[in-house]
């Protein structure tokens, strides 16, 4: 778990962000940084990898955000026996017409939650990541465009590694951000329990089941896809200065020359850091990026893109420590 590496969002600075935050806050307690990361991913079209232990509202946050902006949402639980066609779709022979028809998989959505992505076989991971990159899916002889916006939020459990297929660096690189969840504070956890106690029963005919937080997600959203598109346009107008660009490029270059790093960042890291910083600046109501954006996002952009040397690992060095050292050396 990492520390909170981002300043609390500024209320009133960005109406779009305030609306989403308010909607998510009805069901999710805390985790404002994660909500911000999801919004950054949505605004920049980058994909997001979330890491955290089970039970810290990963799915709930993503579903709440999708409801807040009226996005289509699908969730796929990745398992070892999952096939690429289970995600992408397949051609099915319609016995009434004796013709093949296309059955679209859950990837045809705006927001796809790939739960425990490292549990699926590399073949499935590869199919998903290819679709993420190209935003197109080939089923049979036909290529289908994925809906816009399209965003994959994948989750990984960092604890249970048995029976998993670790994503290789080349595929991790396709995720713009990797964010590690932190546990809620004691105060937040009290509020979570209090809200859970307030949930009532859900009647189904004569039977009833206790409601969960998912049942509590409010459907009526004030935002729509066009609002998201407008916000994305606004992000495009956020100014990135030459000084800021220098900081981003310098950071990426330093990861390539650091003696403790075997594999440094690819050019995608510089792109991701710049684009994500622009979205963060927009969410904080600024028309230009500043070093705070750079430092807030550096960890999420860089850490999954570097691999330490054997010697550094033997010395018990951690990627976060090496990154902190690089950031200090920037000044």
């Amino acid at each position: 778990m990492t520390t909170l590496n981002s300043a609390p969002p500024t209320t009133g600075a960005c109406p779009f962000a305030d609306t989403v935050r308010a909607h998510v806050a009805r069901t999710v307690v805390g985790q404002q940084v994660v909500v911000e990361r999801v919004m950054i991913a949505l605004l920049t079209g980058g994909h997001l990898l979330l890491e955290g232990v089970p039970g810290i509202a990963k799915t709930l946050i993503v579903q709440s955000v999708s409801k807040a902006i009226d996005l289509k949402f699908s969730r796929v639980q990745f398992t070892i026996d999952l096939l690429p066609s289970d995600i992408l779709g397949s051609e099915i022979l319609d016995q009434r017409t004796s013709e093949f028809r296309i059955h679209r998989g859950p990837i045809f959505t705006n927001l796809l939650l790939a739960d425990e992505v490292n549990r699926a076989s590399p073949k499935v991971q590869s199919a998903l990541l290819e679709a993420m990159q190209e935003r197109k899916v080939s089923i049979g002889a036909t290529t289908h465009e994925l809906p816009a916006p399209f965003l994959v939020i994948a989750t990984q459990n960092p604890i249970e590694q048995s029976g998993t297929f670790e994503l290789p660096e080349a595929q991790l690189d396709r995720f713009m951000l990797r964010h590690r969840f932190s546990y809620p504070t004691a105060q937040e956890e009290s509020e979570i329990v209090r809200r859970s106690l307030a949930l009532k029963l859900k009647r189904q005919g004569e039977g009833a089941v206790p409601m969960t937080a998912f049942d509590d997600i409010v459907d009526g959203s004030k935002l729509h896809v066009r609002d998201l598109s407008l916000a994305m346009e606004a992000v495009q107008n956020v100014h990135v200065s030459d000084v800021f660009l220098r900081d981003c490029v310098e950071l990426v270059h330093l990861t390539r020359s650091h003696p403790d790093i075997e594999l440094g960042c690819s050019p995608r890291a510089g792109l991701a850091l710049t684009h994500a910083s622009r979205a963060r600046a927009f969410l904080h109501g600024r028309a230009y990026t500043i070093p705070e954006d750079f430092f807030a996002l550096a960890e999420d952009v860089v850490l999954h893109r570097i691999r330490l040397t054997y010697e550094a690992l033997a010395m018990s060095r951690k990627p976060a420590d090496v990154l902190a050292e690089i950031l200090r050396s920037l000044a």
């Binding site: 909170l4 609390p8 200065s241 000084v243 028309a287 070093p291 000044a331």
Partner: protein
């Protein structure tokens, strides 16, 4: 007459030769053959014997002057009772020894009825040097005589030399710090003024603008003891700090906002630098590097 004389001479010569040969043969037969072997080296002697089988005496001591053993026993020829014995011996003391004393019949009875089996154990050491292996005086070579002491000295040096080098290296005085390029009487505000001016007017390179901004952030982060926080959190706090934020936000705007900001009047700059007037100069080397990058006319006070 002449022929008779010649025959007599030949006969005489033949008789003399025969006598000499017989005498020599007798002499050789009477004196037993002596085998000579160096001390500590195994010598071998072959003996043909008919009769009861021979063997080495069983009660030989390892510290005895001579050790004997019968190493091989083969028939001398087919259809004969004669056997050929191969006897190995090794002497520890120089001298002449009769192997019969250490050879017995198979039933353990003495074999002294055999012809003498004398062997000579020779020593290459000078006369009167002594032939006892264990009583040998130490060799004149000092290294070989005191090898334990030599080895101990080498081991001591092996340990001591690195320790001495290590201690010397750590006791060596650190190099004298470079004299500060800035005058000690300067305040932080004096240091920053030309740099800020240069940044405002875009006279600093992109690299130096970035360094100046990060330097200011690092200064305030240290001044406010925010180093334990994540950098983003520290910056967020500094942006709301009443003392730090005016200049930080101004520099932020000059460096990052779209388009060129209008140069601020000098009085504004003086006001921005007021909080820095009370502070001593910082990060001398870094500021000096930036100051070198700024145009000389503006660096001068």
């Amino acid at each position: 007459m002449r022929v008779r004389h010649t025959q007599r001479s030949v006969l005489l010569a033949t008789c003399v030769t025969a006598c000499l040969c017989t005498f020599t043969a007798l002499a050789v037969a009477q004196s037993p053959p002596t085998h000579t072997t160096a001390r500590g080296i195994t010598g071998t002697l072959t003996l043909n014997h008919t009769g009861q089988t021979l063997r080495a005496s069983l009660d030989q001591s390892l510290t005895a002057p001579l050790l004997v053993r019968v190493t091989d026993l083969t028939p001398s020829a087919p259809d004969t009772s004669e056997h050929r014995y191969r006897i190995d011996y090794i002497g520890a003391v120089a001298g002449t020894f009769d192997l019969r004393t250490l050879i017995v019949h198979h039933d353990g009875t003495s074999a002294l009825e055999l012809a003498p089996l004398e062997v000579q154990i020779a020593s290459e050491l000078p006369a009167n040097f002594g032939t006892d292996l264990f009583g040998t005086p130490p060799a004149p070579n000092l290294v070989m005589s005191y090898y334990r002491l030599v080895l101990a000295l080498i081991a001591l040096l092996w340990i001591a030399i690195p320790i001495v080098l290590f201690v010397r290296r750590h006791l060596r005085k650190p190099p004298a710090p470079e004299p500060p390029p800035a005058k000690p009487s300067l305040t932080l505000a004096d240091q920053l003024r030309p740099l800020i001016q240069a940044a405002m007017q875009r006279d600093l390179s992109i690299e130096d603008q970035a360094r100046l901004e990060l330097l200011l952030l690092a200064f305030w982060s240290e001044r406010r003891a925010l180093a334990h926080l994540a950098p983003a959190l520290a910056i967020a706090q500094l942006r709301t700090d009443s003392e730090a934020s005016p200049l930080l936000l101004a520099v932020e705007e000059w460096l990052h906002a779209r388009g060129h900001s209008e140069p601020r009047p000098a009085r504004d700059l003086m006001k921005l630098l007021e909080p820095y007037a009370a502070h001593a100069p910082i990060a001398v080397a870094q500021v000096a590097r930036l100051a070198q990058a700024a145009p000389p006319a503006q660096v001068a006070r």
